[in-house]
């Protein structure tokens, strides 16, 4: 048992440490504003803080805000260049777009927590009593103070002295919530012997714990000699609910820590069996452990993990990518060589020159997706929701008798690209530019576009209809599903123009696999106008020619990964790659 003796600390003022949170003194308030860095990197926020002593000082604050805005404007200028060479779904692109479009008022005050100073050394009961008297609040003092200690990661001796005080007041009984929070501190500070002690107490007191307690116990026990008991705890959780992926992660980590490889793989299988998506940490652990194992079976299982990443469109993090690289390079006799690289626009790996898998769907996948879009997105169980059966028939006949198109245009989306220009003019501009290239065009719109209006001029619409085939849906019908279907119907070469990210339509697809197919197809076929001024030559977002997914050719692996500092939205794909190939 570990007990720390604090000797020589006598002077009281020193015992109270100031809280790590921003403490606000009287008469001062911290006014901080931060600027998001232009690259959208969260960790590089620049903090400007100044002390606003009095309201008169707001002028200075405003000045600073203005300055910050000015700086941001400067950033935007550089953004234009950045955005043109990355595609619509590249990691970080959404962040950039949001920064270009809005001037967010980021200068809100950071939340100032009303906290008290926590003791830094164990207190005796009189001191705790006094402490409690000073406390003014609605909550239960004991549970409140231990929560604060857990938040600030106080040393366990302080927490222990609190528990001793509570126990002394309460006939030797400490409440469960206090115990769990104490356990949290023990686990956080990796005090294994304390964890075991608490474990014994919990075993003695309670027949069953709640998942939080189990999770902490498992997390603590796996580092001890009694790690096998963590598995019993896992069994206990299973009796009432499916354990979390963190529970599995901890157990697998424990098993690997104690060289029980089979157990680890069994737990991994079980985890997959529950339809849980494993933490990337878990997978990384397998790779890290693999460095010391020279075993074909183990290697094959690791390759299976890579295929799992491929099938589920998961991307490893930066450190995981490093682990994968290290493991490959440690495989004896195979002489793998890994490097971190990017893929050129042509779809060739800058590292080894190999071509990355194409973004295009296979014919079977294509047919499958087409059918699903028709069934789930357009029809959706009730044809009246997005269209009417009459309209659907009209549309299908229209698509059937027209030649396959090269480009399908979302008329309304394109027309509204430039808010200041007239809608019909913009549409005509885009259509005529594309028509010059001898492309078969289809413009989808709604019927109201045909009625004379100050923003929809009849003569311009006539010109549009001359240069392109048009289909006008009812004003209350949804036009996007028609766009998707017309594009899919025309074949693999056909592209569509819209800025819409189509997330709502993707959500109409029921299973994750179809959604991924849709996303892949969308990446390969969506053209988005990136011009910021009307009237200029139309340029589109670059379409990636390759698919961003974990892939292999047997003697090479290409693995996209997420950089640690870059924030990627769920519908974006990473831009960095790990290229692995065998030396020949």
């Amino acid at each position: 048992m570990m007990t720390f003796c604090f000797t020589g600390i006598r002077s009281l003022p020193k015992l109270w440490k100031s809280n790590p949170y921003l403490s606000v003194g009287p008469g001062h308030s911290y006014f901080s504003l931060f600027l998001k860095d232009c690259c959208g990197i969260r960790n590089q926020q620049k903090w400007f803080s100044l002390k606003a002593v009095s309201p008169q000082n707001t002028k200075a604050v405003n000045l600073l805000i203005a300055k910050a805005r000015y700086l941001r404007k400067g950033d935007e200028g550089s953004n234009k260049q950045v955005s043109s060479d990355s595609h619509l779904f590249a990691a970080g692109a959404a962040k950039k777009r949001s920064q270009m479009n809005t001037h967010r008022e980021d200068h809100a005050l950071p939340p100032v927590r009303n906290t008290i100073q926590l003791p830094t050394r164990p207190l005796n009961s009189e001191e705790w009593d006094k402490f409690k008297e000073d406390f003014k609040g609605k909550a239960n003092f004991e549970s409140w103070i231990i929560s604060q200690m857990a938040d600030c990661h106080s040393s366990i001796d302080v927490a222990k002295s609190l528990l001793a005080w509570v126990a002394a007041k309460n006939n030797g009984i400490v409440g469960y919530d206090l115990l769990v929070k104490y356990l949290y501190l023990c686990v956080f500070h990796k005090h294994i012997s304390e964890v075991i002690d608490v474990y014994e107490i919990m075993k003695a007191r309670y027949k069953r714990l709640e998942p939080g307690g189990y999770t902490l116990l498992i997390q603590g026990l796996i580092h001890s000699d009694r790690w096998k008991e963590a598995l019993l705890l896992l069994e206990d959780i299973k009796k009432v609910m499916i354990p979390s992926k963190k529970n599995y992660n901890d157990c697998i980590e424990g098993a690997l820590l104690h060289q029980d490889v089979n157990l680890a793989w069994n737990l991994y299988q079980e985890l997959l069996g529950h339809n849980l998506i494993p933490m990337l940490k878990t997978l990384k652990t397998f790779f890290d452990f693999g460095k010391n194992i020279k075993d074909d079976q183990y290697s094959n299982k690791l390759l299976d993990i890579l295929l799992y990443l491929r099938n589920n469109h998961l991307y490893p993090g930066e450190s995981f990518a490093h682990s994968i690289k290290t493991w490959f390079e440690s495989v004896p006799g195979e002489q793998w060589k890994g490097q971190f690289t990017t893929i050129q626009e042509s779809g060739q790996c800058s590292g080894c020159g190999k071509t990355i898998e194409s973004i295009h769907l296979s014919p079977e996948e294509y047919e499958f997706l087409k059918e699903k879009i028709m069934r789930d997105v357009i029809d959706g169980g009730d044809q009246y929701k997005k269209t009417t059966p009459q309209e659907l028939e009209r549309f299908q006949n229209f698509v059937k008798c027209c030649p396959p198109f090269d480009i399908v245009i979302d008329g309304l989306n394109v027309a509204k690209t430039f808010p200041k220009a007239r809608e019909s003019q913009v549409l005509l501009h885009v259509v005529s530019q594309l028509a010059k290239q001898n492309l078969q065009l289809l413009v989808l719109g709604r019927k109201h576009m045909l009625t004379q209006h100050s923003r929809w001029r009849k003569d311009e619409m006539k010109k549009v209809q001359k240069q392109a085939s048009c289909f006008f849906a009812d004003n209350i019908s949804a036009d996007d599903p028609f766009l998707l279907y017309a594009t899919l119907h025309s074949g693999n070469h056909c592209k569509f123009i819209t800025k819409d990210l189509m997330r709502d339509h993707k959500a109409c697809l029921h299973d994750a696999k179809t959604q991924r197919l849709f996303f892949k197809w969308q990446q390969g076929h969506q053209l988005a106008i990136i011009n910021r001024l009307p009237g200029s030559k139309i340029t589109f977002q670059r379409i990636p020619s390759y698919d961003t997914v974990v892939q292999t050719t047997g003697d090479s692996w290409h693995i996209p990964y997420d950089e640690d500092l870059l924030e990627r939205y769920s519908y974006e794909v990473p831009t960095k790659w790990l290229c692995l190939h065998r030396k020949t």
């Binding site: 009961s125 007191r205 939080g212």
Partner: protein, 423 residues
């Protein structure tokens, strides 16, 4: 590991939570538990006293680990009494224990949970749905308790008032002259009944389309029925009620069952038309207007010769366009309330509850004024009325100051009924 198996026998949960509260855990354990309680209260605590309680003054010798001995020592205690507990794991028991531990941890779970609720908690597929359901039960329990306390307080006050009155009346037993007996409630009911019958014969129809059973979960259905009940109540109290139709109401369907359950015997005496038929069978198609927030057409005036249809549908799953699709299928005219024209919309969906719709329509029918009618839109959803003209602005200001309830036309029966409602 052998140690571990021992504990799985029996620790009775509640005993540690609240020592002195006598409780009944399900089945046989109740008796067992109380014996343990007594034993641990009487014998154990005096013997195992806190070891270094007295010697805590110098901080270096704080007895930091002493409490563990007490905590652990309960183990032997339970081993002795752990005979009767069953080894086989009943999932219901397990989940009850889990809930109890959650409660000890400070999570929002109910203190008491019935067998039935326990089963539905177990039926929840995911952990989050379980937690959600338990939180719902927790809040329900809390409200129930608060109500109980309030009731008791009221009863006590009443008792006191009665006593005081009794003292007063004994002092001066004065005879007073009254014109009416105190039978207001009954009189009002009868009057409303008369009006209801008149509405049944000559009133403007208002249809509630009940064809949404399949789109709703039980909870949503329940709130729909609550809203229907309230709408019916508002209608009944009005000067000139609608003739309410419940169309597409399938007998023995979920709606019907719930309505009958809530209305009880009153269901057969309600002055409205409930029918399995569709509204298109009852009324000419061209006089029907389906009200839906998704409609592209904005309602400008209330037409007294049209039949308005309100879909009785509480949609928490964001199934937009369901009612519009229904109207499209039957080729009916649709309209939506001119919320954007009259209100500066702030937050929330434009779908209003059924009782709000009912009050708005009633108000439109009686006064024809949108400003008046749209007061029933929840205040949190908009920041104020649009400035249309000075006159209407003044009206709006006046409305804002006065409470919505009091602004009913005076002299009508309404004012009495309103009062009753408020009491």
């Amino acid at each position: 590991m052998p140690v571990f198996l021992k504990m799985s026998g029996s620790i009775i949960l509640r005993s540690f939570g609240r020592f002195l509260v006598p409780f009944t855990i399900h089945r046989k354990k109740g008796v067992l538990c109380s014996t343990i309680l007594q034993r641990s209260m009487s014998s154990k605590i005096p013997t195992v006293s806190y070891p270094k309680k007295e010697s805590t003054s110098p901080p270096e010798q704080l007895g930091l680990d002493g409490w563990k001995i007490t905590m652990k020592s309960s183990m032997q205690e339970e081993d002795a009494s752990a005979v009767s507990s069953s080894k086989d794991e009943d999932p219901l028991v397990a989940i009850r224990e889990l809930i109890e531990m959650w409660r000890l941890f400070g999570k929002e779970v109910p203190e008491q949970i019935s067998e039935e609720e326990l089963k539905s908690a177990m039926g929840c597929v995911s952990k989050s749905s379980k937690k959600k359901y338990l939180k719902y039960l927790y809040i329900k329990e809390k409200i129930k308790k608060a109500k109980q306390i309030k009731k008791e307080m009221k009863a006590a006050l009443k008792e006191k008032a009665k006593k005081d009155q009794l003292l007063e009346t004994t002092k001066e037993d004065k005879q007073q002259n009254f014109l009416f007996l105190r039978l207001w409630d009954r009189n009002m009911d009868i009057a409303m009944g008369w009006k209801g019958i008149q509405a049944m014969r000559f009133g403007q129809p208002l249809v509630f389309d009940m064809d949404y059973e399949n789109y709703m979960k039980p909870k949503e259905l329940q709130s729909t029925v609550s809203q229907l009940l309230e709408s019916e109540g508002w209608n009944r109290r009005n000067v000139d009620p609608f003739h309410i139709y419940f169309c597409n109401l399938k007998v023995e369907g979920a709606y019907h069952k719930e309505l009958v359950k809530r209305y009880g015997e009153k269901w057969d005496k309600l002055l409205l038309t409930a029918t399995e038929k569709s509204h298109v069978d009852l009324f000419p198609k061209d006089s029907i207007i389906y009200l839906t927030a998704d409609s592209p057409n904005v309602m400008t005036t209330f037409k007294h010769d049209k039949i308005y249809i309100v879909g009785s549908f509480v949609d928490k799953a964001m199934q937009t366009g369901t009612s519009l699709a229904k109207a499209k299928r039957l080729n009916l005219a649709t309209e939506c309330l001119p919320l954007d024209r009259y209100l500066q919309w702030d937050t929330g969906t434009k779908n209003l509850t059924l009782d709000q719709m009912m009050r708005i329509l009633l108000c439109l029918k009686n006064t024809g004024s949108w400003e008046e009618a749209l007061k029933f839109v929840p205040r949190r959803k908009h920041t104020g009325f649009m400035e249309i003209s000075r006159h209407s602005q003044e009206l709006v200001n006046r409305l804002k100051k006065s409470k919505p309830f009091n602004s009913f036309p005076k002299g009508s029966l309404n004012i009495h009924t309103q009062k009753r409602w408020l009491e």
